[in-house]
């Protein structure tokens, strides 16, 4: 690990992070220069994130272009991907992402496929609910599936119709479970996750973890 280069990157990350971090605690107009610099650094980060997206897209293009070039396994699929990628990108760059062609491609290719994948998730979740008790036989899993069952019963149309007897009790039970027990549990999980996030972020700012590599 070259000590020299690693220190530079650590310093760059720490300084840019510090400006953004202090902005959360010190009001904007207390130190105008610091606020302006923080705004600048955040705009650079936003721009670099978009440029990063382009590097990622180039990454995808290279992976599939090599597959087609080497005619390796599954290269016809990669050819299909490259064709649609280049058509959509060219049309989007030339006529803009809000042009009619791009709208048609989005509405009739991207949206239906994503929605259907989300629909497939319904089957995966139902299947997981059926199998969880045979995989993990513990009280916690019983509580998990039982809670889901009662919330579903009390939420909408189902085994107990909305105007059926006892629907009000189950709706009330559902509200209590969701708005009290689950809310308390969720808050505990949120605080726990926040603890982990703070320490993980601090390790990066203090250069203990160096995701940018050692240069």
């Amino acid at each position: 690990m070259k000590l020299g280069s690693y220190l530079i990157w650590a310093a760059v990350a720490a300084v840019s992070g510090l400006f953004v971090l202090l902005g959360y605690f010190i009001p904007v107009n207390l130190i105008p220069v610091a606020f302006q610099l923080r705004l600048l650094i955040m705009q650079w980060a936003v721009l670099l994130a978009a440029v990063g997206l382009f590097v990622g897209l180039a990454n995808i293009f290279l992976v599939h272009w090599t597959k087609v070039g080497e005619q390796s396994e599954g290269w016809p699929y990669s050819a299909i991907l490259l064709i649609f990628f280049l058509i959509t990108l060219m049309v989007g760059l030339v006529f803009g992402p809000d042009s009619e062609t791009v709208r048609l491609l989005f509405n009739y290719v991207q949206l239906p496929v994503e929605a259907t994948l989300s629909g497939i998730l319904a089957i995966s979740l139902a299947l997981a609910g059926f199998r969880i008790l045979s995989y993990r036989r513990d009280f916690i899993s019983v509580v998990f599936v039982g809670t889901a069952f009662f919330v579903l019963i009390g939420s909408g149309p189902g085994l107990i119709p909305n105007d059926g007897p006892g629907y009000e009790f189950f709706a009330g039970l559902r509200n209590w479970i969701a708005q009290v027990a689950a809310a308390g549990g969720a808050r505990g999980i949120l605080i726990g996750v926040a603890l982990g996030s703070v320490v993980t972020g601090l390790r990066v700012l203090l250069a203990i973890d160096r995701p940018y590599g050692d240069g």
Binding site: L48, F106, V113
Partner: protein, 241 residues
């Protein structure tokens, strides 16, 4: 006879793609892969176009088109144009293995800002608000019955508040990592911790159960709407429109 517009053909293509993706439920097959690769191609092209038009062009190209090449030497634009332009070019160096090292400064800035957003957002957005909200759960108004309020609703309010506090604290304590090491080398929670953790884990299961039920409702509705869409396309083709 339905109106032969672009949307008409679009609806047919969308229906075909929906059936091709649904076929994955039976088994991973050729149709599913073709649909997925078309989808990834369109999504990537679209994301590239939006990133160019909404972020990169306004930040790096328009200033030059509007202010001409003098912008490059304009001292005020150093911060808003020159440095971001340089950082962007350096980040693009990451595309090739040999020049990858040049882009490390841009990555360091991204990582620094990302880490700061995590730390700042977690402290100011979750840690403090959620902790303070838990302490406010048992205010005197909640703890003591208002005049003329029937006992049942007061008790329900009080029990709910206590349950929220107990749920938050026990869930938080469930995640405690340190434990006692037995002679046999096994690590085990102390008795008190084990009880608290068990209660906490039950509340976690309840929370996950509620969210799992919500996700089931959402996805079942999406699946129902997909079949609804297929049905409307069939009707459209049959001319019943």
């Amino acid at each position: 006879m339905p109106v032969l517009s672009l949307d008409f053909f679009g609806m047919i293509i969308a229906a075909l793609l929906t059936i091709m993706v649904l076929s994955y439920i039976i088994a991973d097959n050729l149709l599913f892969r073709i649909a997925v690769y078309i989808f990834i191609g369109v999504a990537s092209g679209y994301a590239g176009a939006i990133a160019w038009h909404n972020v990169i062009r306004p930040a790096l190209i328009d200033p030059i088109l509007q202010g001409g090449f003098s912008t490059l030497f304009n001292s005020e634009a150093i911060g808003t144009f020159l440095i971001p332009l340089l950082l962007s070019i350096l980040l693009l160096m990451k595309l090739s293995r040999t020049t990858a090292r040049l882009g490390t400064i841009s990555v360091a800035i991204l990582v620094g800002v990302g880490a700061a957003v995590i730390v700042g957002g977690a402290i100011t957005g979750t840690l403090i608000p959620q902790s303070v909200a838990t302490t406010n759960a048992l205010t005197p108004e909640v703890a003591f019955p208002a005049e003329g309020e029937n006992v049942a609703s007061w008790l329900e309010r009080l029990i709910s508040a206590v349950v929220v506090v107990v749920a938050t604290i026990t869930t938080l304590l469930y995640f405690r990592f340190s434990a006692q090491k037995e002679r046999s080398g096994e690590t085990r929670r102390s008795r008190f911790n084990a009880v608290v953790a068990y209660i906490g884990r039950t509340f976690i299961a309840v929370t996950f159960g509620v969210m799992y039920a919500g996700a089931l409702m959402a996805t079942v509705l999406v699946l129902a709407q997909r079949f609804e869409f297929l049905r409307s396309v069939l009707l459209m083709l049959a001319g019943g429109g």
